[in-house]
């Protein structure tokens, strides 16, 4: 009999509640994925206010939960386990999800699993593409994270192979968007502007690709500075900034380094599958280049659809399903949020 797992996510701007069915054959089926975002509320204040993020989660938690159960046609008594993001993320935001999850788990008398947000971004792929072949490699790219991870067991064994030493890839997008007078968040508008541009127009630097640099770490701060200098130079000469060319050349530099390092890491480790996930995975140039390079290297590429790549509760439910199926001991009701939870801690 399938087990119903409820997943709660509240690490940043999105309040997500997901429901999945964990089947006996190891497959996990998506039943509901409801998300409320506080991005618009932040926009009104011209930026993120941690207090407002926490309050927005608090206000959205119960309605989002009800929407998820309605969408799945289930009632709360159908739930067999509750999973929640324990970290990493904003402390106050995480706390709302963790408190709600504890309350549901206690009231329903079902096990509680406090899990890692980053592992959730990988686990979500099983909802679309079925069980993960292991070992596999995961490239996690979002506004706050840029990491290359080796996954030996999605329910417990995840190792960091590399990460950004400065800015996350998504953050570089946001900052370059600001330089080009494009809206926030910067990913979609840069992707759109780049379509009409020449990716070879400007040779922006590829960070951390020198012979002495850490092979699988990333750096996007120098790239951001190079774009700033280039734009200032053009403005200084009284020229109109060719936004499409700058966007395309910048995007090419990001996608080039991300995919080159990911494919190289997979090849060196002899791993046959690469999962690309996180908000930036929706970027068209990144997915195109990843597809080309994985095909050349004979690596299977899995990219969840954009809706699953951004923060949501279904990814936490999916991870909860894998952790429960692996027979791991549930978290205690004393579970606390850990803003700096390391990626190798899948279950708290």
């Amino acid at each position: 009999m399938a087990k119903i797992i409820m997943g709660i996510e509240s690490s940043c701007d999105e309040t997500g509640v997901g429901l999945v069915a964990a089947h006996d054959d190891g497959t996990v089926e998506l039943l509901a994925d409801e998300v409320a975002s506080s991005v618009e509320q932040h926009a009104r204040f011209g930026g993120v206010v941690p207090e407002i993020a926490s309050r927005a989660h608090l206000e959205a938690m119960v309605p989002t939960t009800h929407r998820a159960f309605d969408a799945a046609g289930l009632s709360m008594s159908d739930v067999d386990a509750v999973a929640v993001t324990a970290g990493p993320g904003l402390a106050g935001a995480l706390l709302v999800g963790v408190s709600a999850a504890k309350a549901y788990a206690a009231a329903l008398d079902v096990p509680l699993y406090g899990v890692n947000h980053l592992a959730g971004h990988i686990a979500v792929d099983t909802l679309q593409h079925g069980p993960l072949p292991t070992p596999c490699l995961a490239l996690l790219v979002s506004g706050g994270h840029t990491q290359l991870l080796r996954v030996d067991d999605i329910a417990g064994a995840i190792t960091e192979i590399g990460s950004t030493v400065d800015d996350a890839a998504g953050e570089a997008y946001d900052k370059v968007a600001r330089l080009l007078d494009l809206p926030y968040p910067g990913g979609p508008p840069i992707d759109k502007a780049a379509r009409d541009g020449d990716p070879q127009a400007i040779a922006f630097p590829r960070g951390m690709t020198g012979p002495r640099d850490a092979k699988f770490d990333f750096s996007f701060s120098g790239l951001k500075t190079a774009v700033a200098r280039w734009v200032e130079g053009a403005q200084g000469r009284g020229e109109e900034v060719p936004v499409a060319d700058v966007a395309a050349s910048f995007q090419e530099a990001v996608a080039d380094v991300l995919t080159a390092k990911a494919v190289r890491a997979a090849t060196e480790a002899g791993v046959g599958t690469l999962v690309v996930s996180g908000g930036v995975a929706a970027n068209s140039r990144l997915s195109t280049l990843a597809r080309e390079r994985c095909a050349e290297a004979g690596i299977e590429l899995r990219i969840p659809r954009p809706r699953l790549c951004t923060d949501n509760g279904a990814m936490i439910a999916a991870l909860g399903a894998h952790v429960a199926a692996a027979g791991h001991k549930p978290s205690s009701l004393d579970l606390s949020a850990n803003p700096g939870l390391p990626v190798d801690t899948v279950l708290v």
């Binding site: 204040f45 993120v48 407002i52 990493p88 600001r178 500075t225 700033a228 200098r229 130079g233």
Partner: protein
């Protein structure tokens, strides 16, 4: 007083000596355009303070606490870039850190974070076309007397 920085290593070296002179309750506001080297300088500050953890841009998480292994002064690294509204108390960031036991370094904090501490040093980084930087200072509180001790 101004300081010229030619390379990123210079920025780290300057940050390190600034970090060594930081005390609990200090506030450093790092000002300068995108790519000025604020995060790079903070990496030096963390090194000078001897705190743990990799310093990377906290833009997305807003702030990161680097604790001192020996229970000494912690570094709170804040990025106000995405922050709306002002920052009058450290509590506004929902951090597990007390100003009395930490030094706070804020990027993009001018006009927002001043209320945090009287003892604040504004470090202004100007990036030139040849990629060198000029650093200038605006000291407040005890920093008026302490700024001359910087290298």
């Amino acid at each position: 007083m101004t300081i010229e920085l030619t390379t990123a290593d210079d920025a780290i070296r300057f940050g390190r000596s600034l970090g060594m002179s930081l005390r609990a309750g200090d506030l450093v506001l790092l000002a300068g355009p995108l790519g000025a080297g604020k995060t790079t300088m903070t990496r030096g500050i963390a090194d000078g303070m001897g705190v743990s953890g990799r310093v990377s841009s906290p833009t997305f998480v807003l702030a990161r606490v680097h604790s001192a292994p020996d229970g000494g002064v912690a570094l709170v690294h804040v990025d106000a870039y995405r922050l709306g509204g002002d920052l009058s108390e450290l509590d506004d960031l929902d951090l597990d850190a007390e100003l009395e036991q930490s030094a706070v370094v804020v990027e993009w904090g001018e006009g927002l974070a001043e209320p945090l501490s009287e003892d604040r040093l504004v470090v202004r980084i100007e990036r030139h076309a040849d990629d060198t930087r000029t650093v200038s200072f605006e000291p407040h509180g005890t920093w008026k007397a302490r700024v001359d001790t910087l290298p």
